[in-house]
C-alpha cells in the first residue's frame, strides 16, 4: 500500500525597489508596489486560479487530497492585489480535503538567528491562517525546508505533531524517504521527507527536452509511484505551487498532466491520497534520523549556501539582525513591519554568487543585474533604516555613513 502526499508551497516576496545611495534618508518606500502587484496578478492568472480549478475538480472526482503552506507575505499580497485568489483557496480548504501547514510569516531565515523572533513570526502566521481559513495547523514546515534536529525539537515543544524536510540521497544515505522518521532528540514529532526524485521530475524536469524520460506522461509517472508499492508507506511530493503554470508553462502540458495523474494513480487499488496529518496518524517512524547541520531543498547542495554562502550575504544578514533590537525599542509599527519584510529569504537569495555555475534558476528569479547590485541596494536600505531608527531627517550626504557607523 502506498499513500501519496502532495504538499505545495505558495510564496511571493515583497520585492524591493532598486534603492540607490541617493534615496537614503529621503523617506522613500522600500517595496516595489507596482511590480509586486503586476507579478501577483500575472501568477494568479497563469498559476493560482487555473491550478486551483484543477485541484477542485480532482477533489470532486477522485476525493484527492492536498496540503499547502502559504507564507504570511503571500497572503497579504492576495489581500492587496488578488482577493479572488484568496477566496479560491478558501473554497479548496472548505472541501475538507486540504490541509494547511504553518511556517514563519515572513518566509525568513530567522530560526538560524533568533528563537525568540522565530516564535513571534510563527505565532503571527498561525493567527493569520486562523483568520482566513479557520484552521489551526498541526504540521510545521520551515522556510525553504530548512531543517535540523534543533528545529524539530523546538517546534515539537511548540506543539506541532509533524515537520517536513528534504529527502536527498546525501542526507539519507541508504535510507528511503518513503517512510516516517523520528528526529534525533525528539519524542513525539514525526518527520516527513520529500521524495526528491519524483517531486523534481515534475517541478524541474517536466519540460526539459534533454531529459531521457521526456515527455513525462501521467501513466509513466504513476508507474514509478507504483514501483514503491511494498517498499514504503508514502510518496511525498513536495514542490512550489508556482511549478504549475509559472515555472512550467501551461503550453508544456503540465495542467493536463496533473488532471490525469489521479486517474492513473487510482488504477492501482492500493494507492491513496493523504494529507500530512493523516500520514502521521497512520504510521509510526521506522527509525531515528540525525541531522545536525541544517539542510534545505535548494540547489544541488541542499544546504544553506543559497542564502548564507558568501561574505556579502553574511554581512547583510548580520546587519539586519544587528538593528533588530533597536527597531523593537522604537515601538514603531511601520518600522517593525519593514524590518520583518526585509527578512524574507529571497532578498538574500538574490545575493548568491554561485548562480553562474549552479544553473539558471537563480538568474531566472533575480530581478537585479547581479548579486552585487542586490547587496548594494539592500545595504542602502539598511542605512536608511538606521536613519529612521535614530529619527534623522534630511541628513547631509556626507553624514549618512557616519550615522550608520555610530550605531556599532
Amino acid at each position: 500500500m502506498v499513500d501519496i502526499c502532495f504538499y505545495f508551497q505558495v510564496h511571493q516576496p515583497y520585492r524591493l525597489k532598486k534603492f540607490s545611495v541617493f534615496d537614503i534618508g529621503q523617506n522613500k518606500n522600500y517595496f516595489d508596489t507596482k511590480k509586486n502587484k503586476e507579478i501577483m496578478q500575472k501568477v494568479a492568472k497563469k498559476c493560482y486560479i487555473p491550478m486551483n480549478n484543477v485541484l477542485m475538480s480532482l477533489i470532486h472526482k477522485h476525493d484527492a487530497k492536498f496540503s499547502f503552506s502559504f507564507s504570511g507575505v503571500v497572503l497579504d499580497q492576495f489581500e492587496e492585489y488578488a482577493p479572488e485568489v484568496l477566496e479560491s483557496f478558501k473554497e479548496l480548504v472548505k472541501t475538507g480535503n486540504v490541509e494547511i501547514l504553518d511556517e514563519t510569516y515572513y518566509h525568513s531565515l530567522v530560526f538560524l538567528y533568533s528563537k525568540k523572533e522565530f516564535k513571534i513570526q510563527v505565532a503571527a502566521h498561525k493567527k493569520k491562517i486562523k483568520k482566513h481559513f479557520k484552521k489551526t495547523p498541526k504540521i510545521f514546515r520551515n522556510t525553504e525546508l530548512i531543517y535540523n534536529n534543533e528545529l524539530a525539537k523546538f517546534v515539537e515543544d511548540m506543539g506541532y505533531k509533524g515537520i517536513l524536510a528534504e529527502g536527498a540521497d546525501h542526507i539519507l544515505g541508504w535510507r528511503s524517504p518513503n517512510f516516517l522518521y523520528k528526529p534525533k532528540g525528539c519524542d513525539k514529532i514525526k518527520l516527513l521527507l520529500k521524495n526528491y526524485r519524483l517531486s523534481d521530475d515534475i517541478a524541474f524536469r517536466f519540460s526539459e527536452r534533454s531529459w531521457k524520460e521526456y515527455p513525462l506522461t501521467a501513466p509513466k509517472f504513476a508507474h514509478w509511484v507504483n514501483k514503491a508499492n511494498g517498499n514504503g508507506n508514502t510518496i511525498n511530493l513536495f514542490m512550489d505551487y508556482e511549478t504549475f503554470g509559472e515555472h512550467q508553462w501551461s503550453s508544456t502540458g503540465i495542467f493536463k498532466f496533473m488532471s490525469h495523474l489521479p486517474d492513473e494513480l487510482k488504477k492501482h487499488p492500493d494507492n491513496e491520497f493523504v494529507t500530512p496529518s493523516e500520514l502521521i496518524k497512520k504510521y509510526d517512524p521506522v527509525a531515528e534520523l540525525d541531522i545536525h547541520y541544517p539542510i534545505s531543498w535548494a540547489d544541488v547542495e541542499r544546504d544553506l549556501s543559497a542564502w548564507v554562502g558568501n561574505p556579502i550575504q553574511n554581512a547583510a544578514i548580520k546587519e539586519i539582525n544587528k538593528i533588530g533590537e533597536l527597531v523593537k525599542r522604537t515601538n514603531k509599527k511601520s518600522l517593525l513591519r519593514d524590518w520583518r519584510k526585509l527578512q524574507t529569504s529571497d532578498h538574500f537569495y538574490y545575493m548568491c554568487t554561485k548562480w553562474f555555475n549552479d544553473g539558471d534558476v537563480h538568474k531566472y528569479f533575480n530581478p537585479y543585474d547581479s548579486p552585487y547590485d542586490a547587496f548594494i541596494s539592500f545595504m542602502n536600505i539598511m542605512n536608511d533604516m538606521v536613519l529612521r531608527i535614530r529619527e534623522i531627517k534630511n541628513p547631509k550626504p556626507n553624514e549618512i555613513f557616519e550615522h550608520a557607523k555610530a550605531l556599532t
Partner: protein, 392 residues
Amino acid sequence: MLGWEFPPHHSGGLGTACFGLTKGLAKEGVNVTFVLPSLKKNAKAEFVKLVGANVKMKKVNSPLKGYMNSETYHNYKLDLVKEGSNQYGKNLMEEVARYASKISMVAGLEDFDIIHAHDWLTYPAAVEVKKKTGKPLVVHIHATEFDRCAGENINKAVYNIERKGLHTADAIIAVSNFTKARVVNNYGVDPDKITVVHNGVDMKYKPVQEGIALSESEKIVLFLGRITIQKGPEYFLLAAKKVLEFMPDTKFVIAGSGDMDSYVMQKAAEMDLGKNVMFTGFLRGRDIDRAYQMANVYVMPSVSEPFGITPLESMMNNTPAIISKQSGVSEVVNHALKVDFWDVDKLTNQIIGVLQHDCLQETMANNGFSEIFKINWNESARKCVNVYQRFA
C-alpha cells in the same frame, strides 16, 4: 598576420590582444609571420623568445602607429622630416596607401595560407595582398570608427577603408556580439560571415604584489585607459563629483594619456575636483599593476567598447571592476558590476557600494580572480583556427 603595434611598443589594448592571440596560435601549432609598421629595427629576437619558435616578426619601414589619426600623423611626420627622413606619405591616408603597396611587395617573398589583418590601418595592405596572391582574407575587428569617435564626427575616409576591408574579406572575426551588431548595422555586412571571438587575458603573466600601504580612510577609484572620447573619462569625473558628496576623502586616479588629456584636466579643475582627482600620465608594465593594486575599485565607463581588456587586468590584480554595459567584455564577465555609461547616478551608487563595504570588494575580487582563468587566449586562438580551417 598584419597588425600595427606589439608590446612593449604599444599604446593600447590592440597590442596586448595581438600579442596574446599570436602566443595562443603558436601553441595551437600555427606558423605566424607577424608584419607591422615600424621605424625601429631592434627587438626582433626578444619577440620570438616571448612568443614562440614558430612565429617570426617582419617589420616594414613606416611611421604608422596604433590609434593614429590625421593630426597625430602630421605632427609625427614633422618630427621625422626634421630628422631628415622624407620618404613617407604626405598625410595619413597617403602613408596607409604607400604602406599597403610595400606590404604587397613583401608578401610575394613569404609563404603563407591565410591573411589575418587587425583593424583598419592594415586593411588596405591586406586587400592588396589578397588581390596579388588570391589567398583568403580574415579581417579581425577590435574597434570600428564609430567606437573610436563615440559615434560623433566619423572620418569618412577611415569608414570607407573599413567598409572595403569588411566586404572584401572572406571571413570576419569580431571581438564581441556588441561589435558584430555594429558591423552588421553600420557596414551592411552579412551576419553569417562574422564569427565572434572574445579576447582573453594572459594569466601566465603574474602581477607583482607591490605591498602598497593603504590608509584605511583613503579610498581610491581608478580610471585606466586612453583618455579619449571613446573611454568616457567625462562620466568618470561626473561620478567622482557625486561620490565626493557622500565620501569627501575619496581619491580618483586617472591613468593614461590621449587626445583629451588637457580637456579632461581642465574639466576636473572647473568642477573643483583638483584636490581629489590625480593624473598619472601614461603607465607601462609594473606601474599598471601597481595602479590596479592601489585602487579599491576600477571603473571603465566606455561610451563604446568593442571588447575592453582592462577590467580583466584589474580582476587579475584582485581589484573589482565596474564596467560599461556598452562593452564586449561585459558579455564574458559575470563577477563585475555593470552600468550604462550615461547612468552617472547608478555608477555613483556602485562606486560607493564597493567603497563602503569591504566584504563586497573582497567577494568581487575573489570571484573575479577565479573567473578570469576561464577567459584565456588559448580559447580565442582555437576559435580563430576554426575560422582558418574553413579555407583549408
